[in-house]
């Protein structure tokens, strides 16, 4: 009953999406207020029905309804409660439903928070979101129906993939999809601008908070995925340039370029056509990512169960949406009137430089990710492109961008003077450089990349401090947007420092340990006390006991586990971590080596790894602050007046 209800709700949602797409867009074209007015209610209703469908799927999982194929494939009676719920999105079909839920959620949010937008623009934005919804709902209902029944019902499920039975799984996909899908709003705004032919500072001000919000979620989503991989995969790494990781990183790079480009468009009317193109590109990359991960064209640890038929559908959708939007861009771009000029060292030109670097980096990642496919498609053989390539090309492109982070906020709009900025920053530059080198020596062996990382981190932090000092001295206002920018940049500095240390100064050992044996790593002593069996709700485990000490004092007792999950028979290593601000001590069990209780054990010392997560959190906090700046939350009367001016004016 409930699965049928869910399926029915999805069908209704599809119909509503059709309404949401067709009526408002026609209404905006014909200037028909009645048609345009259908946008908001349609968006809210569509969200409602998709939510119903989602709840139905969740209930099927929570009640172990194994007559639903998806539940039978991905759940298990003894799965702990919280994972019973998260299994709702633990498969291709379920995660697709989550995607659609997020999309309709953003649509509903636009419907609610767009009162100050001119009706035509709101209608177009919501209409475009409806179009995207049609595609995804159609895809779900035809090729990936989560409510498909399996009769007679299975007696027991196949269990959720053990890798997903972790609390990173609870938040990573929702955050990631909120980000991925959130950029659909920026995309919709760009299409609306192209359709109406009107692109001005007001447009930039309307689309900016939505873009910042999406960026914030994507940042969180990516970082959570990285944190989860670090803890769950047991090899101490946190980024592998795997195609799935790249699939989320590319929209992030484009999105970062977009929020900076939007700043110039909002403030000075600069880069209008470029900003529109970027908005289209960012969401297109989200869609490309969805394709890459679900179609099987690239081999990845993270790929969903792949199916070329599904791949073909998504590709078709991609061609329609991306191709259509780029064709619209090519056709309508000449109508966009360029904004004011700016000097060679103005904030605009520095932002342009930032965009150039970010897009070059994006290009490099895209090239590396797709090259094996292109070479194979041309019949030229099989290649692998892995971390050595990406690290080699990405770091030199991103380092100058990080350097610019120190200059940009201090340069003036329109007419910066290089001499002024250089004079102010001579001292910070020298101090950061010296301190960077000193730190690299202090931490042990001198590593040039680490020194560069420290220099850049200190440089950014210093210039953030300078910006605050200037504001306080000048008595200027410090709105949320200001705090947001500084906090996000500072977060980046913290993250870069963390990466510099952990990449250069981590250590690891793979040791054979007999009960009572010990090993040393980075000044810590690890004593192995053997393993004991433990029963989990849906697994059997061998639980190790490792005492960690330093300078004679006990620091922690760690319990790495080797688990065999009952339903699937899959083995999993559950690493044990002792974190603090300055390092993680991390232990993972390998294999039993003999009959007398010896095991191979992997020991890791990861200095400053938590600065990565911390830095990313600060960046997300900064994004949130910037998105909720007062000027985006004008009172009703003021916003109505602004909207009126906008429709009359530009």
């Amino acid at each position: 009953m409930i699965p049928e209800l869910g399926q029915f709700a999805l069908i209704v949602a599809l119909l509503l999406a059709l309404v949401q797409a067709a009526l408002p867009l026609v209404g905006a074209w014909r200037n028909d207020a009645a048609l345009m007015a259908t946008a908001r209610p349609a968006a809210l209703a569509q969200f409602g029905f998709v939510l119903v469908a989602f709840v139905c799927l969740a209930v099927s999982f929570m009640t172990h309804d194994f007559s639903v194929l998806n539940v039978a494939r991905n759940s298990y009676t003894r799965l702990p409660d919280i994972y019973r719920f998260t299994a709702t999105w633990g498969s291709h079909e379920g995660s697709l439903l989550l995607w659609v839920l997020m999309l309709t959620f953003w649509g509903a949010a636009v419907a609610v928070f767009s009162r100050r937008l001119p009706d035509a623009m709101a209608a177009r934005v919501i209409g475009v979101l409806g179009l995207i919804s049609i595609g995804f709902l159609a895809f779900t209902l035809t090729t990936s129906n989560p409510f498909e029944r399996q009769l007679p019902a299975a007696a027991e499920g196949n269990d959720m993939n053990p890798l997903l039975q972790d609390w990173g799984m609870i938040i990573h996909p929702p955050m990631l999809y909120m980000g991925y899908v959130g950029f659909a709003v920026a995309f919709a705004f760009a299409i609306a601008a192209l359709l109406s032919g009107r692109l001005d500072a007001a447009w930039a001000r309307w689309s900016r908070p939505w873009t910042l919000a999406a960026w914030t979620f994507l940042t969180l989503g990516i970082v959570l995925g990285s944190w989860w991989a670090y803890r769950e995969l047991g090899w101490g790494g946190w980024w592998f340039w795997d195609p799935t990781e790249n699939a989320s990183f590319m929209p992030w790079l484009a999105g970062t370029a977009l929020i900076h480009s939007l700043a110039a468009t909002e403030k000075r009317g600069a880069f209008k056509a470029w900003t529109v193109l970027l908005a289209l590109t960012t969401f297109s990359l989200s869609l490309l990512g969805t394709f890459l991960v679900r179609s099987g064209v690239l081999s990845s640890v993270h790929a969903f169960a792949t199916d070329p038929a599904r791949g073909a559908f998504i590709l078709g959708f991609l061609v329609v949406v991306v191709g259509g939007s780029l064709a619209l861009y090519a056709w309508r771009a000449p109508r966009i009137i360029a904004g004011g000029g700016y000097g060679g060292f103005s904030r605009e030109s520095l932002l342009l430089a930032n965009n150039v670097l970010l897009i070059a980096a994006l290009g490099a990642v895209l090239l590396g990710t797709l090259y094996p496919l292109v070479v194979d498609a041309l019949g030229l053989g099989k290649l692998s492109v892995g971390p050595p390539y990406f690290n080699a090309v990405f770091v030199p492109l991103i380092a100058p961008a990080l350097f610019l982070m120190g200059l940009g906020p201090l340069a003036r709009w329109k007419n910066g003077r290089a001499a002024d900025v250089a004079a102010r920053l001579k001292w910070p530059f020298a101090v950061s450089l010296a301190a960077g080198f000193a730190l690299a020596f202090a931490l042990g062996e001198f590593k040039p990349w680490a020194a560069l990382g420290f220099f850049l981190a200190l440089w950014i932090a210093y210039t953030v401090g300078l910006a605050f000092r200037d504001r306080l001295r000048g008595g200027g206002a410090m709105p949320r947007a200001f705090w947001g920018m500084q906090l996000a940049h500072f977060g980046m500095a913290v993250g870069v420092a963390g990466i510099a240390v952990v990449a250069a100064y981590s250590s690891e050992r793979d040791v054979r340990m007999a009960p009572g044996g010990s090993a040393e790593l980075a000044g810590y002593t690890f004593v192995f006390r053997g393993v004991e069996p433990r029963e989990g709700p849906n697994f059997h485990a061998m639980r190790g006991i490792v005492e960690v000490g330093r300078d004679g004092a006990r620091v922690a007792t760690l319990h790495p586990e080797k688990r065999i999950y009952t339903a699937s028979g899959m083995a999993m290593t559950e690493a044990s971590v002792h974190p603090n601000l300055f390092r993680d001590v991390y232990v993972a069990l390998g294999e039993p080596l003999d009959d007398r209780g010896a095991w191979s054990v992997r020991l890791f010392h990861k200095p400053f790894i938590n600065w990565l997560w911390l830095g990313a959190l600060l960046m997300a906090a900064g994004g949130l602050l910037a998105a909720t700046d007062r000027r985006y939350r004008l009172g009703r009367a003021a916003s109505r007046a602004a909207a009126k001016l906008a429709t009359q004016g530009a």
Partner: protein, 148 residues
């Protein structure tokens, strides 16, 4: 240097023999192995390096690489040994050859194009400023001359 390192490791790790897999015994060989294996692909995994993978074939290949290193082969020779058997697919660092010129030089090209764009948009164009009274007067005169 190797001996010093070895001695240090042995004194420090009293009671255990360091081992990445039960075969290993020489930390210097292990260090070189890890460096090489990080850039090599585990062929039976979806997307993991030879250094990190616990698959049986990965362990065998690491064992072979150890043998090669101990026999005094250079990094280049070890890599050639593997590509002769498994092809370029086993390399995570694509070799620089005509097939991959585009790959390795691409980012440079992107940067170059971007720099040119930046130069043309930002560096050459001075900011607009309101025309000075003299220039305004000149302009008016020119207009009058054209259209009396």
């Amino acid at each position: 240097m190797k001996r010093l390192l070895l001695a240090l490791c042995l004194t420090v790790a009293a009671g255990t023999a360091p081992a990445m897999d039960p075969d290993a015994d020489d930390p210097a060989v292990e260090a070189r192995l890890v460096e090489l294996a990080q850039d090599l692909r585990c062929l039976v995994c979806q997307n993991e390096s030879l250094a990190g993978s616990q698959a049986a074939l990965a362990r065998d290949l690491r064992r072979e690489i150890r043998v090669q290193i101990r026999a005094g082969r250079s990094d280049r020779e070890v890599i050639d040994y593997l590509t002769a058997r498994y092809g370029d697919f086993v390399l995570y660092r694509p070799p620089f050859k005509p097939l991959t010129w585009l790959l390795w030089l691409g980012p440079l090209v992107f940067l170059g194009i971007g720099a040119v764009v930046w130069y043309r948009l930002a560096a050459r164009r001075p900011a607009e400023s309101p025309p000075s009274p003299d220039r305004l007067a000149d302009a008016e005169r020119l207009l009058e001359d054209r259209h009396p």
